[in-house]
């Protein structure tokens, strides 16, 4: 058509214009509609986040102003200075970091071999083991809080990182083993067999071939386990009594006192405390989500 007679040029240009206009129109509908709907959805989803931001920069007086103000007339950064200097927020965060990292380590040490075995090997009790993992997923931690506490006391692990590392590991183990198993299953068996034929031992084949190929699954697991441990509340509340061993979630919870809640401090501290994880989450979100979705399907 591009080579058509000159006499057709004008109507063609008009048709192209109409197509362009309709493309423009469709783009407008698509983007405009997308934006409008997103704005509504995000408005709902982020409303409490806005409340957190706004409260964290209010003075005590503005916190209790009726009717409440949206954004304080004079934004104050004082709350952030106060919580950083008066409260051991850094210690809380460091504790949560150590516990999160420790849990991730221990979890992988247990979940990678178990996931591999479940995915690749035939053995008696395989179904039962899988079912057991599913059952654990169903158990509310509250149910076993007291016996677990007694175990920790007997081991002299109260007020140590270990108490939380092992419990968080156990309560994330089912999910991570399932997830890793689905990744191992997705690796074609021939690749490993080729490695075995080439003279690798089974252990070498696992370490050099299977684990690297399942790396996306490992990363997904790391993120899932770390976040779960970072956010854990009930065990941290029960196993830890010393102020300097508190995790972030429990540390923030103590901003609620017997007589008053320091809402402006609570919100400022929450903001500082959750920021690292929110950023981490945003960085790896794509990965995590794909892992979760595909883990389920594979």
């Amino acid at each position: 058509m591009a080579h058509g007679p000159a006499t057709l040029a004008v109507p063609l240009r008009e048709a192209a214009g109409r197509r362009a206009r309709s493309r423009l129109w469709r783009a407008l509908v698509l983007h405009g509609g997308g934006w409008a709907l997103s704005a509504v959805a995000l408005g709902v989803l982020l409303f409490p986040i806005f409340v957190m931001l706004s409260t964290s920069v209010k003075t005590l007086n503005e916190v209790y102003q009726v009717p409440p103000v949206w954004v304080p007339a004079a934004v104050t950064w004082r709350n952030f200075v106060d919580i950083w200097t008066k409260y051991p927020l850094r210690t809380y965060m460091l504790n949560s970091l150590i516990i999160g990292a420790g849990t991730t380590c221990l979890n992988l040490l247990a979940a990678i071999p178990a996931g591999y075995a479940v995915a690749r090997l035939r053995f008696r009790g395989r179904q039962a083991f899988m079912l057991l993992l599913l059952l654990i997923q169903m158990f509310s931690p509250i149910v076993v809080l007291i016996p677990l506490f007694k175990i920790m006391a007997a081991l002299h692990w109260l007020d140590t990182y270990w108490s939380l590392i092992v419990t968080n590991t156990v309560f994330t183990l089912a999910f991570s083993t399932w997830m890793l198993a689905s990744y191992f299953r997705a690796i074609p068996a021939e690749i490993e067999e080729a490695a075995l034929v080439d003279g690798c031992s089974r252990r070498q084949a696992i370490l050099r071939v299977a684990i690297p190929l399942a790396a996306p699954g490992v990363v997904t697991t790391i993120i899932y386990v770390f976040i779960t441990a970072w956010n854990e509340f009930v065990f941290a509340l029960t196993f830890i009594s010393r102020t300097e061993m508190r995790t972030l979630t429990v540390g923030l919870y103590t901003f609620i006192g017997r007589w008053a809640v320091q809402w402006h401090y609570l919100m400022a501290a929450a903001l500082v405390g959750v920021l690292p994880v929110v950023i981490l989450f945003m960085l790896v979100e794509r990965h995590l989500v794909r892992g979760l979705a595909l883990g389920a399907v594979k």
Binding site: K86, F149, L158, A260, V261, Q262
Partner: protein
């Protein structure tokens, strides 16, 4: 290669975590659990520890601070796990429950007589059957705070209080009197009306123990009826009472939305800190016309656990902690009434603010001491809230509550 480094680093981290040293040294160490009275980050306990350790080399104090809302449940968990501390602050009303577990060491077994003579009479609530089970640490009575710019003469009776509330209330902007209907660590307002109407929780047996629940008698029902009327009939309270507990009610007063509120001496300090310009004064708790005036008296006590290994060190610590300087500092910091006689004479407490609290002490009544108090309190809260929300009539709510309480306590 990178992968191997990552693996090695991960393994090293794991081993590093394993190696976190076990805590606790060789010296004599006592573990103390203190409760957080407000959400400020308090230095009082840390300072006390420092001062004590400086004066007593060889003894260290391991200080654990817990928020009140978690305090009871944490202590129970620790005791159940054989991890009871050496000493802890508790609400005196919990002592019987802990005593029933057989974990409380009476203080008078290892403290000199002179020590127990330090305290003013009303503070020694933990004296049960001739033994002292806890050292009083915090004492409060409840009183009526009112806006002195709106109310010239404070009401003395319920009837006056209602009239004042009706006069000053401006719907939507100023509420007459605060009533809280949200479950809280203690049964806040109902007890003021119950005691102010000559009522009580239990029938007292001839031997002094507590028998049947009696909140469903005329005095108890009338008290709840009056609260319900304030809320639903006269509408002089804040709207949505079930949303507020004592804390948020105090927030409303601080925000200038309440003309009257019934609470304890700590609130004076909170007003100083958060609403300096708010004109207020304090008066004794109003009572029903024709009935004697009684307010609520609450003490918290330090209990010592039987499992404490170094009772001598604990005794040293208690002797030290009850010097006048630290006691005055405690009372000032946390807004409490003095428990030690010599501190009570201090000029700090001889002010118009403290007078109503201290003058009420001789007639003030404490919580009943029963081992099942947590359960009783929970049931009572539900009864009060159901009446306030008009889910049940006051009589019905309290009759149901009494049945449940008697059943839980095994009282026929």
């Amino acid at each position: 290669m990178r992968r191997r480094i990552a693996l090695a680093a991960g393994a090293a981290l794991c081993i590093g975590l394993l190696a976190v040293p076990a805590l606790g040294g060789g010296a004599v160490s006592i573990r103390a659990v203190w409760m957080e009275y407000d959400a400020r980050y308090n230095t009082f306990w840390q300072q006390l520890k420092k001062d004590f350790e400086a004066a007593n080399p060889g003894i260290t104090v391991d200080t654990v601070i817990v928020p009140w809302s978690e305090g009871h449940d944490r202590l129970v968990t620790w005791i159940a796990g054989n991890q009871a501390p050496d000493l802890a602050i508790v609400g005196t009303r919990w002592i019987l429950e802990f005593n029933k577990m057989g974990v409380v060491e009476p203080v008078d077994t290892f403290m000199p007589k002179a020590f127990t003579h330090k305290f003013i009479g009303p503070a020694l609530e933990a004296r049960i059957g001739g033994r002292l089970y806890g050292v009083p640490v915090a004492l409060s009575a409840r009183a009526l705070y009112y806006r002195s710019d709106l109310i010239k003469t404070p009401p003395r009776t319920w009837q006056e209080m209602l009239a004042v509330a009706q006069r000053v209330a401006k719907p939507g902007s100023l509420y007459g009197i605060g009533v809280s209907g949200k479950k809280f660590a203690e049964l806040t307002e109902y007890v003021y009306y119950l005691y102010g109407n000559g009522g009580d929780f239990f029938v007292t047996n001839p031997d002094g123990s507590y028998g049947r629940c009696r909140v469903n008698d005329a005095a108890g029902v009338e008290a709840l009826q009056f609260m319900t009327d304030l809320v639903n009939k006269y509408k002089v309270t804040e709207p949505n009472v079930a949303e507020n507990d004592r804390g948020t009610l105090q927030d409303l007063f601080l925000a200038g939305k309440l003309a009257m509120i019934e609470t304890g001496p700590w609130f004076g300090g909170m007003i100083q800190e958060r609403a300096k310009s708010l004109p207020f004064a304090v008066a004794p708790m109003p009572h029903n016309q024709g009935k004697p005036q009684h307010t609520l008296l609450v003490t918290d006590s330090i209990i010592v656990f039987k499992s404490a290994k170094h009772k001598d060190a604990v005794a040293k610590f208690l002797e030290f902690a009850y010097n006048d300087r630290h006691r005055l500092e405690f009372d000032k910091d946390f807004g409490m009434l003095p428990v030690v006689k010599t501190v009570a004479r201090n000029a700090y407490f001889q002010t118009p603010f403290y007078r109503p609290f201290i003058e009420q002490l001789p007639t003030a009544k404490p919580w009943p001491l029963v081992a099942e108090w947590s359960k009783v309190e929970d049931v009572m809260w539900d009864a009060v809230t159901s009446a306030l929300l008009r889910a049940k009539s006051p009589r019905q709510a309290l009759t149901d509550a009494c049945r449940e309480i008697d059943q839980a306590r095994g009282v026929k």
